[in-house]
């Protein structure tokens, strides 16, 4: 069933919220009153409820099934999180209330900070970044601020080729040049190539560990020592923290900073693309340069520092105090799991990924030999001569009731398929997924390329023309456009 846009529904003057009649006042808008209507449609509450209910039914979601998205850690979002975040005294708190009236909120931030520091083995954390990429920015800014503080203007950041696109974009957004490091045949940072790049103008290195091939960097300690030896800093991308949480403390590996995607490791909901939260843990060397605000223990309880009295902080990165709603959810998740449960999380995540890797080893083509961490990487070798591309294969998964896995990433592998089941999938769920994957692989090899090219068939829409969308962008509804009529 088609769902027209809200602008194609409704009726003038209709309203879905009962509001009282405003009292008559003589306007003090200074003659700046709105002259024309906004152009919003008028829908009733039933129409609105139906519209969004029907739209929701066109989505795939974790609540419906497994999300094999590598590097995205789409795990189950416990419902307790959604309940506690709405408690009165948290959900309705204004960010600029006197600190004497928000002691519980500051305690919560402080408690979460303690958990994050303890889990990573790091001495400090900046809580305010709004998402993972924002956390990266925060980390690289802290590095640059620390270098500037010692009067050391460096220009380059080393970034492995297999990095997320956010890494080079972040380095550039902090005014750095990006210098790529190649991967070796085993999917790891090429240690020799890395050493060769080192020099007095290298500000630091950004490494994802476990890396985007789903592998732990075995030379991580050597890398840390080398970058420190060259006067640079070590930024660790924490996107894959789920594989090691509670089992390995990144601080023990010699890193200087790492962002943590609360929605990846600590189960805050993805929400169709946000909001996230990206606290960044920092080493002693970087801690003084952290952005404001931060929570401190004062004489009369908790206090909030919104201006750095020492003026070493590199400044402010986000309005108010960070993504509080995500903090509450993440803390509820952490307390529910505890130190024992979080270790179990990492172990189960790694176990599940290896189970998939081992089960599909014979019918697909693992990109690297051996075991993996929390995600299994395949290349498209097994599709050779079938006429089926990685994209086709992934789209065919949709008709089997699954979201596609991550495709064509990391770039270091040809036609990559990256599968991350997460620890919240049960063995029965993995077995069903494996069976489907096997079936598709066999079908591809049996020569039924047409099936894959035509996929998906069972979705509200089949493959969409992205080129046309970009060529002449239509980014909003316009009255009288004939797009509505064509939709059926």
């Amino acid at each position: 069933i088609e769902e027209p846009l809200i602008f194609e529904q409704g009726e003038e003057g209709r309203c879905g919220v009962d509001l009282p009649e405003p009292p008559k006042v003589s306007s003090r808008l200074g003659g700046l009153g709105r002259k024309k209507p906004v152009g919003l449609p008028g829908l009733s509450e039933p129409q609105v409820v139906r519209h969004y209910t029907r739209l929701s039914q066109k989505n795939y979601a974790i609540d419906m099934g497994l999300y094999p998205l590598g590097s995205c850690t789409m795990k189950h979002n416990p419902r307790l999180n959604e309940k506690v975040v709405r408690l009165p005294g948290l959900g309705d708190l204004h960010p600029l209330q006197p600190v004497s009236t928000v002691q519980g909120a500051l305690e919560l931030i402080d408690t979460l900070a303690h958990w994050l520091k303890t889990l990573t083995g790091m001495p400090a954390v900046a809580m305010s970044p709004g998402a993972g990429a924002h956390g990266e920015l925060c980390g690289i800014m802290a590095i640059r601020a620390a270098l500037e503080h010692r009067g050391d203007a460096r220009k380059r950041i080393l970034v492995p080729e297999s990095a997320h696109g956010t890494n080079p974009a972040t380095a550039a957004a902090c005014g750095y040049e990006v210098d790529p490091i190649p991967a070796n045949a085993k999917g790891r940072v090429d240690l020799e190539a890395f050493r060769a790049k080192l020099g007095p103008d290298v500000a630091g290195i950004m490494i994802t560990n476990p890396n985007t091939c789903g592998l732990f960097e075995p030379d991580i300690v050597e890398i840390a020592e080398a970058i420190h030896g060259a006067g640079g800093f070590f930024y660790c991308d924490g996107a894959n923290f789920n594989a090691i949480v509670g089992r390995v403390r990144p601080g023990d590996l010699g890193i200087d900073c790492m962002h943590i995607n609360l929605h990846k490791t600590f189960s805050t909901p993805h929400g169709g693309g946000g909001p996230g939260a990206g606290p960044v843990v920092l080493s002693e060397a970087l801690a003084p340069f952290a952005p404001v605000p931060w929570v401190v223990h004062g004489a009369a309880g908790f206090d909030l520092v919104e201006r750095d009295p020492k003026q070493q902080s590199f400044g402010r990165l986000k309005g108010f105090h960070g993504q509080m709603g995500m903090f509450v959810r993440a803390l509820a998740y952490m307390m529910s799991h505890g130190s024992d449960g979080l270790k179990q999380v990492a172990e189960d995540a790694v176990l599940n990924a290896n189970y998939i890797l081992a089960s599909l080893r014979d019918v697909m083509s693992p990109a690297f030999p051996g075991t993996c961490m929390h995600e299994a990487l395949f290349d498209d070798h097994f599709l050779k001569d079938t006429g089926v591309t990685t994209l086709d294969f992934a789209k065919a998964l949709i008709d089997e009731g699954y979201h596609p896995m991550t495709m064509y990433f990391p770039l270091v592998v040809h036609g990559a398929l990256l599968v991350e089941p997460t620890e919240t999938e049960s063995k029965d769920s993995l077995d069903r997924f494996i069976e489907v994957m096997k079936g598709l692989a066999q079908r591809a090899k049996s020569g039924d390329a047409a099936h894959f090219e035509a996929a998906p068939k069972l979705t509200p829409r089949r493959r969409l023309d992205e080129t046309a969308a970009a060529r002449k962008p239509v980014l909003r509804w316009v009255p009288g456009s004939n797009s509505a009529k064509a939709a059926e």
């Binding site: 003589s26 066109k58 408690t111 889990l119 089992r247 992205e466």
Partner: protein, 435 residues
Amino acid sequence: MLARIGVRSIDDLYRDVPPKARRDKPVDLPPHQGELEVERAIGAMAAKNLGPSRAPSFLGAGAYRHHVPAAVDHLIQRGEFLTSYTPYQPEVTQGTLEYLFEFQTQVALLTGMEVANASMYDGGTACAEAVMMANRVTRRSKAVLSGGLHPHYAEITRTHAHFLGFRVEQPAPDPEGREDLARLVDGETSCVVVQNPSVFGHLQDLTALAEACHKAGALLIVAITEVVSLGAVEPPGAMGADIVIAEGQALGNALGFGGPYLGLFATREKYVRQMPGRLVGETRDVDGRRGWVLTLSTREQHIRREKATSNICTNSGLCALAFTIHLTLLGEAGFQRLAALNHAAACALADRLAKPPGVSLLTKSFFNEFTVKLPKPAGPAVEALARRGILGGVPASRLWPTEKSLENLLLVAATEVNTAAEMEALASALKEVLA
């Protein structure tokens, strides 16, 4: 499962970890707790706060308390929205894509602009992104910020300016709305950023400033911290803005101690390829049916890497959903009525608060927030009000701790949720506190 993998223990899967970093024992944190215990522990923290459910509240300054219809929270909690991924696979995310397309349209309509993106982290980060975009568009590197811009927005912009090496000029805070920004615009200026209503509550006609900017080849960026104002006030697009950024929290989203919120970002069509953030566009599927996809992603980091317009990946999808549902429920009639209720509440409160001797209203034209000058420092007065169970506003000293000249100023907001009794309570408590 271990047998199929071919290892004897989980430990074998961690063999790449340097031995000294392997931990067999749990870290030093409490063990797991049941749902009931966690609810109790977090509930205890919540109980230590004095929220507006227990105390009348008149705080604004960039975050506003409004009544959110129950349907909003009901709908955003549907698992298909809440637990869905970024809509990179459009076949299974038409729901998300369609509401984001509607959201973009609503934002463009509200601001009077041509196009809008699918949201940013918040108003403050959107402001910094807007300045960086203006720098790209004009290939210039000086930004002029109004003294009426929310200090957080200015601070965030300065942080980026420092690392990217562009200049920022800003006159002193402007509590009476008298600054002349046009005189700061020169051939180096990429943009002027002005907030309307200003952080002190002043409403301004920006038409002349827009002309001055355009004459000098600079862009006018208008910041809005209270989007409900757009139901009553002439939109920036009609005054000549080139980029509009706003904090969208006021519609659909709880105060939540400051986040997550959502940044709105709108501009003219000709600048769209310099815009940061995700965009949803209309297209067709192989059967010719209308559908939606993420588009112009060649601006974005996952394609362009270090050449991207921004490093932003995540946006505020679920907050944008709450925003768009609330606005859809309101519709034209409801949105204008909501704005009228807010303005009426603020007018009523302003009259009440300006009465005590020594108190003066600094803001003549305002929407739902204004500044009063007290006969003594506002910070301690607000603390004294809090002890009386009233959250009486934001002292200017909270936002400009080092500006002695602003010490006696108090920013006060009233919305449709503030009753006459609450206003009366604030007025008489303030009288006591000042006595």
